[in-house]
């Protein structure tokens, strides 16, 4: 049975049994933490931050969740699991959403589940993250920043540490939402020094002696504590104080030595040897020291106030104050350097026997026991990966010597895969090469499996690099080597192979591969890849114009997702988006809107920024078609705000959709300008991320009669030669427009017929209507010449009633007039994203209960949001709120 994964000791609010100096002014200052979003307690070690916070937490009057952070929490999965557990301590179930999301969460998105999970909690509460300086992973800093930006009003955060956290504080400070307790505040006053040394420690020092100590330590709590320890039972107090006050020696050094020297031998030995431990308990200490009085010794140290703190309620687990531990460790390293690794090995063995594998690994690595560490990693790996703690595993694999990893196929493969996931393709190749060298071409199952997996990872690498033929070769090799029972691996390889075939234009093999992959991934139980396979199949169907079957495939994917939890949010969002896109191209606009709104909703819930961007852009386009130009552009801006400008593909995409909006508005000049500046960045690739912008570019060419570049591109893409392409209905239409513009009537007709053939069986009429000003003349010219007169006539009818160019201008003019008549006062406090969501639903006529159902929150939460919205808008009822919201352009 495996030991519990999370250490309860990290969630325990630390308690020092030593009598502490009461510091009422500081406790009072901290009282304001419940009125601010963020409280920072920043000072070097030993200033009493933890002691102060834990004391405050006891009497705070609000529930407090606590996490004592360590380096190991730099894995975002680990970090958020502890936050979830701390929330559960505030109230059972508060962290449930967050905990469920962690294993599958998109990078940097876990904070959203934290926010949504606590949104309904009716009382104020505090989350304390102690030793926050241990966190160095910028991903976590960004997430904490985002959390603070969206912090529910009842939640308050305290970050305590030795350095200011590298997050942006300016805004919080300006809004009065930041409380700071800094080094200067934490220094002991003369009075407090007297209380500590004379009253609590009973030292009976004179005022001048107290003064000398206060001066020398500058009010540093740890220094004073150490001085007290050094003075206890000492005869020559004056001598000590004078010597200490007059010394330049680093306080920790001086006093640390003094304190250590005065300890009996067995105590000193115990202290020095157990200093390697992050947390201590009797049996563990006995294992490390080889002595038999572990727990008794710990209680003795506690009694003597030797910088030891409790980690639980049962006096079982303790830890040393970090400064003291550092002195001890330095002593160990200095006097008995050869002993240190041995002690770590003993500790590692003890943790392993307890089933606490992560600690066992850490100590094994620190003890240079690389073979044991590697064995432990192999054992612990699967469980950690299943929990999403990939970075922890990667960290361990990188800490192990390459030769050790290379000698263990499971580790080497895991390492290579993690490297591929993180984009380090060359490094992954290197690891694979080493693995191969270590293993002869065995004909046994184990040998073939290993080589098959190596080939599989190589397939992925080639695919990512765009080496299609290479991917195919290696993929086939992998399938040849992998045993039948390796469903998961075979499924993934087959999927990637199918993708390569597709891009190479081999539809038949692609379709066959996808069918196989669907079965394999289903057998492997990997729903995510099963859904991805379905997408591949749908894409193929769409290319052949088999839209009804494609639609059914997406719906099938949605049904698959419905049976599962939050890990399928991304997949479900994608399916809704794909349906929305299909419906848009079929001119089923209401259904398209329904689907894209759902796609966005799921993307927000799952924290998938990419999916949100796609969603907003498509929704913007649908709004534009309705004539809602302002709303459309607002949505584009919203998409833009989600991404930093350095993310090139996203900028390309957003600007392309924006250009398409201009085209629909009749602002052809702006669209042409975009085309001019962006053409060079768009490759001749209809399958990659730049495919959508590329098609938009071609539209703009057609609209601006840039026949030559248009025909050139279409030629290079294989459209004019009749090769099978995605979006065939639109590309052939564009070819027809180009040829017609160029005066090449026969070819224009040929291309148009190709397009119509697809439109006939697929219903993909959208592009004709969207390009109405240009398709109209073309269709009128073609009507007497075509073999598909009824279809062309129908298209003409649709195109005739829609004049997006002029309608766009008229609508824009109308909007401009409305704008001029408004005098919107900007809101003092803008609505939060959640409140905007609720507002839209209110505007759509939904009742509070309906809103609660749609957003998956409690009715009380909805009412609270509505109340806040009214407040911010200065409205007394829904009607007033709607009017005001419209004035402000929020709807």
């Amino acid at each position: 049975m495996s030991a519990p994964r999370l250490l309860p000791t990290k969630l325990f609010i630390p308690r020092l049994r030593v009598p502490l100096v009461d510091r009422p002014p500081l406790i009072e200052a901290l009282g304001q933490a419940v009125e601010r979003k963020l409280t920072l307690v920043c000072a070097p070690g030993g200033f009493g931050k933890t002691a102060l916070l834990s004391r405050w937490a006891e009497g705070a009057g609000v529930p407090v969740g606590w996490v004592s952070l360590t380096e190991a929490d730099n894995d975002p999965a680990t970090f958020w699991l502890y936050v979830a557990a701390a929330l559960d301590r505030v109230e059972a179930g508060l962290g449930r959403d967050l905990q469920a999301l962690v294993p599958s969460a998109a990078e940097g998105s876990q904070w959203t589940a934290c926010v949504s999970g606590v949104a309904d909690f009716p009382r104020d509460f505090v989350l304390v993250l102690d030793d926050y300086h241990a966190i160095t992973n910028p991903q976590i800093h960004r997430a904490v920043s985002s959390l603070l930006d969206h912090l529910p009003p009842q939640m308050h955060v305290v970050l305590s540490g030795r350095a200011d956290p590298p997050i942006s504080l300016a805004r919080l400070r300006a809004a009065g939402e930041l409380l700071e307790v800094r080094t200067q505040d934490l220094r002991f006053t003369a009075e407090e020094t007297a209380t500590l040394l004379n009253q609590l420690k009973g030292l009976g020092l004179r005022a001048d002696q107290l003064g000398a100590l206060a001066d020398r330590t500058e009010g540093w709590a740890a220094g004073l504590q150490m001085a007290a320890l050094a003075l206890q039972g000492r005869a020559d107090v004056d001598g000590f104080v004078t010597a200490f006050a007059g010394s330049h020696r680093f306080i920790v050094d001086y006093l640390g030595e003094e304190v250590l020297e005065r300890q009996p031998d067995e105590v000193r030995r115990f202290l020095v040897q157990t200093s390697i431990l992050d947390r201590l308990t009797g049996p563990l200490c006995e294992a490390v020291t080889g002595e038999s009085y572990g727990q008794a010794m710990l209680h003795r140290l506690e009694h003597a106030n030797l910088f030891i703190a409790e980690l639980d309620d049962q006096r079982e687990w303790y830890r040393y104050h970090q400064l003291f531990a550092d002195v001890l460790r330095a002593e160990l390293r200095d006097r008995e350097p050869a002993l240190e690794p041995v002690l770590h090995q003993r500790a590692g063995a003890w943790f392993e026997a307890q089933g606490q594998l992560p600690d066992a690994v850490r100590h094994a690595l620190a003890g240079n026991d690389t073979d044991r560490a590697a064995d432990l990693v192999e054992r612990a790996m699967e469980e950690l990966l299943a929990r999403g703690e990939m970075q922890t595993v990667l960290g361990w694999l990188e800490a192990l010597p390459r030769a050790v990893v290379g000698a263990r196929p499971a580790l080497a493969l895991a390492y290579a895969q993690r490297l591929v996931d993180n984009g380090h393709l060359d490094a992954a190749e290197a690891v694979l090469q080493e693995t191969e060298v270590g293993f002869p071409e065995g004909d046994d199952v184990a040998g073939r499996t290993l080589l098959g997996k190596v080939a599989a990872i190589r397939t992925f690498i080639r695919r990512i690099r765009g080496d299609l033929q290479g991917a195919v070769n290696l993929g086939l090799q992998a399938l040849d080597l992998l045993p039948e029972s390796e469903y998961s691996w075979r499924g993934l390889v087959t999927l990637r192979l199918a993708g390569a075939y597709h891009q190479m234009g081999d539809r038949e093999r692609a379709a066959a591969g996808l069918a196989q992959a669907a079965t394999l991934n289903h057998q492997a139980g990997s729903i995510y890849y099963e859904v991805v396979t379905l997408y591949g199949q749908a894409a193929l169907l769409l290319e052949e114009g088999r839209t009804a079957e494609a639609e059914e495939t997406y719906r099938h994917a949605l049904r698959l997702c419905a049976g599962h939890g939050p890990e399928t949010l991304a997949a479900a969002s994608g399916a809704h988006y794909s349906l929305a896109s299909l419906f848009r191209h079929q001119r089923r606009l209401d259904e398209a809107e329904q689907q894209v709104v759902e796609a966005i909703r799921l993307a927000i819930r799952g924290g998938h920024t990419e999916a949100r961007i796609y969603g907003y852009l498509l929704l913007a386009f649908l709004e534009q078609i309705k004539g809602e130009h302002e709303q459309a552009h607002r949505l584009v801006d919203q998409a833009r705000s989600l991404v930093p400008p350095e993310v090139a593909w996203a900028m390309l995409l957003i600007e392309a959709w924006e250009a398409q909006l201009w085209l629909l508005e009749g602002n052809v000049a702006a669209a042409a300008e975009w085309a001019r500046t962006s053409a060079a960045a768009l490759d001749d690739n209809l399958y990659g991320q730049t495919a959508a912008p590329l098609v938009i570019l071609l539209r703009v060419y057609a609209a601006t009669a840039q026949t030559v570049p248009l025909l050139e591109r279409l030629e290079r893409l294989g459209v004019t030669t009749g090769a099978p392409v995605p979006m065939a209905h639109e590309l052939h239409l564009l070819a027809a427009l180009a040829c017609h513009q160029a005066g090449d009537e026969p070819r224009a007709l040929e291309a148009l017929e190709r397009s119509l053939a697809v439109v006939e069986r697929s219903g993909l009429v959208g592009c004709y209507v969207e390009l109405a000003p240009w398709t109209g003349p073309l269709l009128r010219w073609a009507l007497p010449r075509t073999g598909r007169a009824p279809l062309v006539a129908e298209l003409l009818r649709m195109v005739g009633t829609e004049q997006p160019g002029t309608a766009g201008t008229a609508a824009a003019a109308g909007a401009a007039v409305r704008q001029a008549n408004r005098a919107p006062q900007p809101l003092l406090e803008p609505l939060s994203e959640r409140e905007l969501e609720v507002l839209q639903l209110v505007a759509s006529g939904a009742s509070n209960q309906e809103i609660a159902d749609q957003l998956f929150v409690a009715l009380t939460t909805v009412k609270k949001h509505v109340g806040n919205i009214f407040g911010k808008l200065g409205a007394a009822n829904r009607v007033q709120a709607m009017t005001r919201a419209q004035e402000l352009g929020l709807l």
Partner: protein, 75 residues
Amino acid sequence: MPSYVIRVRGHLSERWARWFDGMTVTNLPEGESLIAGPVADQAALHGVLAKVRDLGLELFSVAPAELDQEKNTGR
């Protein structure tokens, strides 16, 4: 490998040399100390600074060895 000199307040005893991974510790008359030696790269430098911080040493300056030398000879 580049060398750095870190200047802190207070005198450090010999034992800390090993703590700072083989750098040398020199106590200066004005009550300051120098922790000096080769540092593999920037990441390692930040590691040393973290150790300085975690010991509660007051940090005065960090400089590459040559620059610090110039400062000294300029006196």
